[in-house]
Amino acid sequence: MAGLEHYLILSGIIFSIGLVGALTKRNIITILMSVELMFNAVNIAFIAMTRFVTPTLLTGHIFVLFIITVAAGNLALGLAIVIAIFRNRESVDITTAASMKG
């Protein structure tokens, strides 16, 4: 049987995978994909909390809708920046975009 803890642990596992990907990868597109995984993990936690703690009050669902909206805008802008960086530097390696490094 699957209870609240199972869903939350699944959410934690996916969030950690996304965190490791975002911290350790050099390809900007992989980093964006990892950030999307983290958004999804948070959504699972919100929906599970709504289902098990406040089943008739749908505020968690509303939050997930707004998170999805912000994530979509986030990714569209992120990919536009990726294309701009690729045009300037011919690479999607994040370590080459270090001109602001002190």
Partner: protein
Amino acid sequence: MHVGTGASIAFWIMAVVAVVSASGVILLKDIFRAALLLVVSFLSIAGIFVTLNADFIAAVQVLIYAGAISILLIFAILLTRDVQEGNPSNRLKIPGMFMGAVLLTALIVVFVNTEWRLSTEAPLDSTTAALADLLFSNKFVLAFEIASVLLLAAMIGAVVLARGEDE
């Protein structure tokens, strides 16, 4: 307080699929295959939403994540033509994995040891109408309008950034 037996079986299957495909996203060398595995992960997360009686959110997940966002990602991969470069790690690989493991351990300890105030109410059969009532009520309608302006700003910004300066 648990979900039903069928929903539990579906949960275990889709949880395994989601975790395996999410690890594939950061482990595979081929970034195009990583993007396809990300779609698999999004779809199984949509199934997990169904087991939690969130039918509208599951449909939104399929439409926006598995539909729009994945196509955007695959387009970006094709446009940047850097597929052959692969998916290397930076020099933070060991500290990054250590941080992920520490965070996961802390999260699991907290999740298991917290006394959650579980409700025994039955969940709604269909959430779509209730969600619309709540979203367009006085509580959230301002946030809804601001989200539309945010999407418009993001769209204009993306067009300006991706078009470049030469035109």
